[in-house]
Symmetry: C2
Subunit: 478 residues, 2 copies
């Protein structure tokens, strides 16, 4: 049996083997190249072929998800050699598994015919996942090759935004009528011969495909075979609409521990189903894109993307930060006169700004999380503000006191120490207020608070910290 | 039927209703209090009771997960009023659903008897989840109340670290023998009358409980009832060991789209199963704790935690940042003479440090992610370094050039502009090198690179940025 502890190792091992074979392949090529003599065509091509055949055999033994992993772990040149060796009939499955960025590098190397062949191996919902990356003409040809039901499904799946249930659902539904007995259902399933992955319930529909209820396999198995479907089915199942937000569907999956759930249209007509693996992929992607966007990466980046592509992916964020840093710099510029007189201010000011930013980010992270879980609203806002102000006041007095003392010891100036302490406290209070307010205002304005809050809070606490500290210093020290 | 789009709303609505009832309750109490006259005991207690009864009815109509959500959304005082009203027999389930921080506030209010009663409603694997939060004496009593099989299970579940499969698994396993026919299995299941949640396969074991294979319900339903289990079962199922890392198990669940999987001990004896809902909870918790730790929150924080508790949760990180900020401040201190002469340096230096930090964090985020996915190893390290250095060089020359120009325009000093450009480029190169190196070294040292990398990279680019900029300025400007 396959054992879990071996996955990562065997996956790593597979990767190492592939790299080893690729290097052998490279060696032969280099050798021929370096010697710069008439190619020993025969010998070379023999060894060459042998290496590649071995590599191909290795790849065939791997699950498509594992091949995808290997492709993602290889620099572009090696990646394309491996991609060439993958049997054409597995192209589709593997394209589905790789990350968006890597998929683009693979598709760029395929001609229309190969792409068409790859897409034709897939289910309609899987084609829909691939469609945005396909060249227009290939997609058009693909669309024409489908029968009318699947064409309709594909077009409807593509009509929903990426974060809608309609874009996540698949069409692997087994439907039954409510007036038959369980025994008939059992015979029907045996005749079908195969059930779709993840099937944990059958969908009960009427003549017009309107959803009447669901029959969990668990009940089908334990109830009296003579009972009718209607008497055994559950009619308070969780159902979704195509337009529902995927994020809400995924909370429902977690909350109510679902494996599959029916998806209906506006007329309660069953159009597809949502499965836990699609939901799990969605959750994983969401949390990853949140993490990436918090660090200012626009989208998932191929580890081996070109310098130019990477720069584009990261530029928006850097330029925003440059602007905020420039504003902070101008705030300092206002007080150049004071700094000239008391140069210690220049050394101390980054501490005030920095700690404010850290503390503000802690607050914002709490609030963004509470907002995402829907736990924050008008009724508890006051409590939150008070709590954060309390935390900041305590931190400001304690850490500000410590640093005020340190500043006094370093520069033998009592007033400088007091200014330091006061500025720290005030900037932490500012951080608390803005740390709560910024995500709330962004949410109110219909924006995702997870994306920009951290830049904004840092901008405020930087400029604010410099202003408060240098301003107080100018008043009391100069 | 319950419809997904209504969840969040109806959940929000439920929360609003609960708050409304709580406020009415408060009003009555305040009234009696304010008037400061002999309490109209009868009237008061009547209205009082009515409000609370209504609230209780509302709570009873909600799913335990939804009650948990409401408890998490309420400040401590109101939370405890609601908690008192929840029927005792649901305490256990609800305690399982709330976050760790909120659970502690609820448990703190319960006496031993209540806790014991709550825990006794739960399955062994659920008790194990609760156990770390229970007072020692309650846990001891609980342990004694269990039968020997469950006591053993509980103790073994608790013996695994939180991130091991053994701590995530449950014991709801249905086992069969391989020499019987599917028809017998079907009759056996009907006699059982009920299957555990998420059952998508039965576990085939021999007399010694050693795992022989698994029988997916899908196959049980579609294959000929006369076939034996042995001929139909799958013997290359994915299995896990108790000691396996939960993170690896969860990648296997995602990779191979599993719903349940058997867990065996060192002798291949079946001891439990892992389900997709436990895995999904694990993934969610992991990504949340990563996000929290990136902002320097030690653990999940109750939104309504006391100021003191919050301060403790955030202090470690703030104090580390204070130290790094202090170091950066001392670096500036080294150059106070130069700043006194060219005060513009004070205004420009935070830009150099700040952009370095941002760029370094982008690099680190990429690397941490690649490490988590296992995509980075010796073979591609060189590629990564070159790529990140290329990105930094390009960014440094472009943005450094722009800011150098701006510095020149502001201060009419060509050399200052050139120093600015050179310092930006060098600090971005430093950020690239450290952004790759820090997570790699942390991983090599056996630490989680997601947790401390961001602080370290910022520390390096701050102190480094100040040093490079002020150092160059001292050489070329003073």
């Amino acid at each position: 049996m396959a054992e879990a502890e071996q996955y990562k190792e065997s996956l790593q091992e597979s990767l190492q083997q592939v790299i080893h074979l690729l290097n052998k392949h490279k060696l032969v090529e280099d050798l021929v190249h370096k010697q710069d003599m008439p190619r020993h065509a025969l010998v070379e091509s023999l060894v060459h072929k042998q290496n590649l055949a071995e590599l191909q055999k290795k790849l065939e033994s791997l699950h498509p998800a594992d091949v995808a992993y290997i492709l993602e772990s290889l620099p572009l040149g090696q990646r394309l050699i491996v991609w060439d060796l993958v049997k054409a009939e597995r192209d589709g499955e593997i394209l589905l598994e790789v990350s968006d960025a890597v998929r683009q590098t693979l598709i760029a190397e395929m001609d229309s015919e190969e792409l068409l062949a790859a897409a034709e191996q897939l289910d309609t919902d899987e084609i829909a996942d691939l469609a945005p990356d396909l060249p227009k003409d290939v997609f058009q040809e693909l669309l024409e090759s489908l029968d009318s039901q699947n064409r309709e499904r594909l077009q409807s799946a593509l009509s929903y935004p990426e974060d809608a249930v309609g874009a996540l659902m698949d069409f692997d539904i087994v439907t039954i009528r409510e007036d038959i007995s369980l025994d008939v259902v059992l015979r029907y399933l045996r005749r079908l011969g195969k059930l779709p992955n993840h099937t944990d319930k059958l969908f009960v529909v009427d003549r017009d495909d309107a959803l009447r209820g669901v029959l969990p396999l668990k009940r089908l198995l334990v109830q009296d075979p003579e009972s009718t479907v209607a008497s055994v089915m559950s009619d308070d199942a969780v159902i979704f609409h195509c337009e529902d937000k995927a994020s809400e569907a995924s909370s429902a999956f977690e909350r109510y521990d679902l494996v599959t759930a029916p998806v209906v249209d506006a007329n309660n007509k069953l159009v597809g189903r949502l499965t836990v693996d699609a939901v799990m992929d969605f959750i994983r992607e969401e949390s990853e894109s949140e993490m990436l966007s918090m660090a200012g990466l626009k989208e998932e980046e191929d580890l081996f993307a070109s310098v130019w592509k990477s720069v584009q992916n990261r530029w928006t964020w850097l330029s925003i930060n440059l602007v905020t840093a420039f504003v902070a710099s101008r705030v300092i510029g206002l007080f150049e006169g004071s700094i000239e007189k008391v140069v210690a201010l220049a050394a101390l000011m980054p501490i005030v700004a920095g700690i404010g930013g850290n503390s503000g980010n802690q607050t914002t992270t709490m609030i963004v999380r509470g907002l995402a879980l829907g736990q924050i609203s008008a009724h508890n806002m006051k409590n939150l503000f008070y709590k954060e102000l309390g935390v900041s006041l305590l931190n400001g007095l304690v850490w500000g006191g410590v640093l005020g003392l340190v500043a006094y010891l370093l520069y033998h100036n009592v007033m400088l120490g007091l200014v330091m302490m006061a500025a720290m406290t005030l900037n932490l209070l500012l951080a608390a207020v803005m740390g709560v307010a910024i995500p709330l205002v962004m949410t109110r304005a219909g924006r995702d608070p997870a994306v920009g809050s951290s830049v904004m809070i840092t901008a405020v606490t930087d400029s604010g910290g410099f202003f408060i500290f240098l301003g107080l210093a100018t008043i009391f020290l100069i």
